[in-house]
Amino acid sequence: MKEAIRKDILDILRDSIRAIKRDDIVRLRELSDHTLHSSTIYQDEESTAIAVIVYSLFKIYEKNLMQASKEWLQFNDAIIKLLDSAYNSFIRAEIAQYRIAIKKIFETISKFEKSFGKFVTEVVEQSKIKKGSKLVEHGLSIGRTAELLGVSRWDLMSYLGISNYAENEPRSISIKERMKIAERLFK
């Protein structure tokens, strides 16, 4: 694994634990964007998974409704312990153990959100789409992003429409020229 990726992941795990303990939701959101560059360039499983996890946690921790639930304390403790475990495994280069901790974090989030029934569903799926839209913004194609994150193109396209991702980018050909291509097709 590249040293840059390793350092990024360790920083994110450490800072996420701190942010959760300090109830710093804004920081949690910022952290979820930190591995996007690694995810775009190296497309490694670890960078992508940690971005999705941290964004999912942000979505959960920002909701007061969830924090008022009876399951909250148990969930919060479990997440901190699992993030600690992931951090310690990663620093010791025990990748298999690290992956188990990451898998357990996904499972814990999923179990917790299920207890809220219809109010909050599929936090992880939504986070994948949100992070996927960022990868598209960074230059990956929709198909490659969908493949990398295991989401459907339909979901990704629906989200991209409202994300303004191509608004200020340079154009390869003018709209006038492109309309001419379309018109020629029907002549």
């Binding site: 560059h37 190296y42 497309q43 194609s141 193109r153 154009r171 390869s172 309309m179």
Partner: protein, 234 residues
Amino acid sequence: MKAMVIDSSSLISISLNDLLWTLPILKEKFNGEMFITESVKNEIINVPIKSKRFKLEAMQILSLLGKGTIKIYKNDELRAKADRITELINSIYSANDHYIKIVQKAEIESLILSSMLDCTFVVDERTTRLVVEDPKIMAKILSEKLHTEIRVNEKNLNMFRMEVHNVPIIRSVELMTIAYKLGVMNAYLNPATSKIISIDLKKTLLDGLLWGLRLRGCSVSTEEINGIMTLNGF
């Protein structure tokens, strides 16, 4: 043979705007074939048909396949070539001495088919389009977004350009604008509606059409939408 190859991104935009009904009419007016590849069929039918959210859309597209409006182009040579070209494109741009895999085989399969048939490629997806039309812009986007230097492997880029060149590309917005221009969208222009609301019906329809496609995933900017709105004849 007159034909167009449609990528899944454009079919998704068209479908999400409930505009699939325009395709048989457009096909008749265009007097040619509308093709998709086997991989695109998988993405727009096989995958969503198993989901709850987009099952209906998948069924609607399936119906167009059943009627023969859209045909699946099967070709073994195409798959082999798509493998090779996908690998080539994914070895053009690099950052930190690492090639960035920017595209996926299914997207490239449609592009190759358009090249093989010498026909227009309909694709709403930005990356595939830019790699064909202006690969330097793609490098610029990657560099700006990743805040790092992007190297372009000119040899691989040239090899790609030798394999795929001069593929005319349009998006769902241009295709649907043509549908509007040809009067296909007149189905929405009921004169009685002017009694309900006082607006320029035709202009509002075109504006709604373009924004609908954009807001459901077509990569088109506000400037381009405004550009279409001010073109002669609209």
